[in-house]
């Protein structure tokens, strides 16, 4: 081993996000300007940075997951995209993507990393691990 780095994900590639949706069996709803949620902010979680209560429910694109009554909003903020969703259990998204959207972040990371590595001519293999997924990129 030479070095080890921990990264905080930023979603900045819409194509990789579309591939993520395909991978998970979700539908990317391009240019859908609203996403389904409870419709009223209950104040039980912090608002994402740079957003106010009146911004909730509005988006630039949306994502729907099978058997979920709520949807995920994709909001463009500068060069990156922020994902908004209502994790209340009746909406069904918490089971599909995890409370913090971990499964969606995981799938996006794999799709984005594979795309970038393949562009450089490197080969990639995926393996399931106890805690998640491992992607090995061979140079």
């Amino acid at each position: 081993m030479s070095h080890l780095t921990k990264i905080e994900l930023e979603i900045n590639d819409l194509n990789a996000l579309k591939n993520t949706c395909n991978r998970l069996g979700f539908k990317f709803l391009e240019n859908q300007k609203t996403y389904k949620w409870f419709g009223k902010f209950m104040g039980d979680s912090p608002l994402p940075e740079g957003l106010s209560i009146s911004d909730l429910g509005k988006c630039h694109h949306a994502i729907s997951a099978p058997n979920c009554s709520y949807e995920i909003g994709v909001v463009k903020q500068g060069n990156k995209f922020v994902l908004l969703w209502d994790y209340w259990h009746s909406g069904g998204l918490d089971k599909k993507i995890g409370t913090n959207g971990g499964k969606l972040k995981q799938a996006y990371t794999i799709e984005k990393a594979k795309w970038e590595a393949t562009k450089k001519g490197y080969s990639c293999t995926e393996h399931k691990t106890e805690k998640g997924i491992q992607l090995r990129i061979r140079l």
Binding site: M1, S2, H3, L4, T5, K6, I7, E8, L9, E10, N12, D13, G98, N100, G101, G102, K103, L104, K105, Q106, T109, I110, K112, A113, E116, A117, K120, Y122, T129, K131, G132, I133, Q134, L135, R136, I137, R138, L139
Partner: protein, 67 residues
């Protein structure tokens, strides 16, 4: 040992990147493209292999000209 970049992504979405088979600072250069496109670096740990001599790395040679 083949040169590899290994990403571990937990089900909670935590990402760690590890490099294997590199000597010296080349591991940083080779994995930088992933760190740039995926997000912000939170933490970095260098391992003994990082400090090993890489024969491909350019090094300055100082010649004693005064005899």
């Amino acid at each position: 040992m083949p040169k590899e970049i290994i990403l571990d992504i937990t089900n909670d979405g935590e990402i760690s990147i590890e490099t294997k088979g590199f000597k010296g600072k080349s591991c940083m250069k080779e994995s930088a493209f992933l760190e740039e496109v995926l997000g912000k670096q939170l933490h970095q740990q260098l391992t003994p292999a990082y400090y090993e001599f890489d024969p491909n790395e350019n090094r300055k040679k100082i010649l004693n000209l005064c005899g």
